[in-house]
């Protein structure tokens, strides 16, 4: 199916949910409300004509000051059987930065969602393992947000002193003496 037809099909099925359909360089993106995202994903995965069995990627985008809803969660879908691709996006406002997890649909999305939480602070409802993935557990802030500086403050990460302390403790031999 052509991606634009798929977008039409989603529109027919979920007329309330589709906010926008755009095409750029042959790739179609469908913007959705976040409320029924899991239901829509389940439909996209199960419908025999669409059959998006492979979730290529999930990531967040921060549109600070550019859009009304600050965040977008972007899903790249691909159907290996039908060889068609689609991008769906769910708008997530800053004050309610939560969205349903789609781990029940595609299990491989687990770490992508964890990374999205790690980098943007978007909480995924019903995620089986909602921890940070790339950064330490006690990290403060969400690095890929646009208001997070590229270069951090001069002070070191708080846990670093603790790690140094521990390494000193485990170094009982004084090689010099």
């Amino acid at each position: 199916m052509e991606p634009i037809q798929i977008a039409e099909k989603i529109k027919e099925q979920f007329p309330e949910e589709v906010l926008d359909v755009r095409e750029f360089r042959g790739q179609v993106s469908v913007t959705l409300r976040k409320g029924r995202i899991r239901e829509i994903c389940r439909y996209l995965h199960d419908d025999p004509e669409l059959y998006f069995d492979y979730l290529v990627d999930l990531c967040g985008v921060d549109y600070l000051g550019k859009k009304d809803n600050r965040f977008e969660v972007v899903y790249h879908l691909f159907s290996i059987k039908h060889r068609h691709a689609l991008r769906i996006k769910a708008e997530v406002p800053e004050e309610d930065a939560r969205i349903d997890s789609v781990v029940p649909v595609w299990i491989g999305v687990n770490w992508h969602e964890r990374e999205c939480y790690d980098m943007f602070g978007i909480v995924f409802n019903g995620h089986p393992d909602p921890r940070r993935v790339l950064l330490p557990e006690d990290w403060e802030g969400y690095p890929l947000r646009k208001d997070y500086p590229v270069k951090g403050p001069e002070e070191e990460w708080k846990g670093f002193e603790e790690v140094l302390e521990r390494s000193r403790k485990f170094r009982p031999f004084d090689w010099q003496g």
Binding site: F24, R25, Q27, S29, D53, Y54, L55, V56, D57, C59, V61, D62, K66, V74, H76, I80, R83, R87, W106, I107, G108, V109, N110, W111, H112, E115, M119, V133, L134, L135, P136, P143, L144, Y148, V150
Partner: protein
Amino acid sequence: MEDIEKPFETKELTISMGPQHPATHGVLKLQLQLNGENVVKCTPYVGYLHRGIEKLGENRTYFAALPLTDRLDYISSMNNNIGYVNAVERLFGIDAPPRAKFIRTILAEMGRLSSHIIWLGTHVLDIGATTPFLLAMAAREEILDLFEMICGARLTVSYPRVGGIRNDITQEFLDKAYEFAMGFDSRMDDYETLVTENRIWKERTVDIGIISAEEAVNWGLTGGTLRGSGVDYDVRKYAPYDAYDKVEFDIPVGKKGDCYDRYLVRVGEMRQANRILKQCIENLPEGPVMADAPKFTLPPKDMVLKDMEHLIHQFILITKGPTVPEGEIYIGSEVPKGELGFYFVSDGTGKPYRMRVRSPSFIHASALTRLCEGGLIADVIANIGTIDIVLGECDR
């Protein structure tokens, strides 16, 4: 005697494998919960090599972010560069000339060979065979020498450019590359003689880490790891880029989806890569190597040094970046590890508003949970080797 008759006290043991462990291929930590020798639970921890490449990419122009991609999968940086420039070219709406596309394909396949050689060497080394590792490294050395010949760098090459390649390759390089390609099949025979039918190798890999086709797709596995389960998904065939639609090659697929099948798939891929390499060198067209799109590509260096207009042009492109149409694009490319995708959101300036790297190793590392649980602790090593991860790409 009394001591022996006492019943043993048994309990589940939690151990950390890594981050400093020679068989984890980098700084990967696996927390294993063991019941005797059986793995009850396996939790991978990544992030030790996180450098924030996505954040850095958002604060650089499209040209300046290219060297960052070298540091993703540092074993096959050429493939990352090519994936990156392809995505950026599609975003800009320009097309590289045919000669550049063929040269990129040659280099991508050489990068694939060098990565698969490392994989083969280390994977069998982990399981206990030393000889193939030494042989494989000798072959990789030749590929790195060829890379050095064209761009001076062996690992972090940064050779392709948006709109083509940096400079044309020489006949000397082509001769040497062809010579290498002609001799490579017999090298493959050497490796396979040592490994493929080896009894110990088969005992360690057959029926280990089985994952069905449906499950592998659901997990989002790509590359040789997916094809071992019998799914012929390959970006080079499904969405051809560069010169892949002009060459003939097959996609080897496995049947069962165990470690041995994945091994066979990758070995087959190496032979196919060599086949592509030969075809590209034989059919290399003549012509320019940079696209004629002055608004989006850097001017040639010799012109910059001679001509004022070109100098101004270069200055503006380097400092401000090109004016890019607004929009968003995702382009995947087949790197040795799987599908490496770049997702750009452009807001019309010279820097990407959002640069996202979809790295295959990240997903493969997450699937270790699935592959290792229920197996033996010795098979964890085989599973890490078989999914072929590089932590630089996983952590970005």
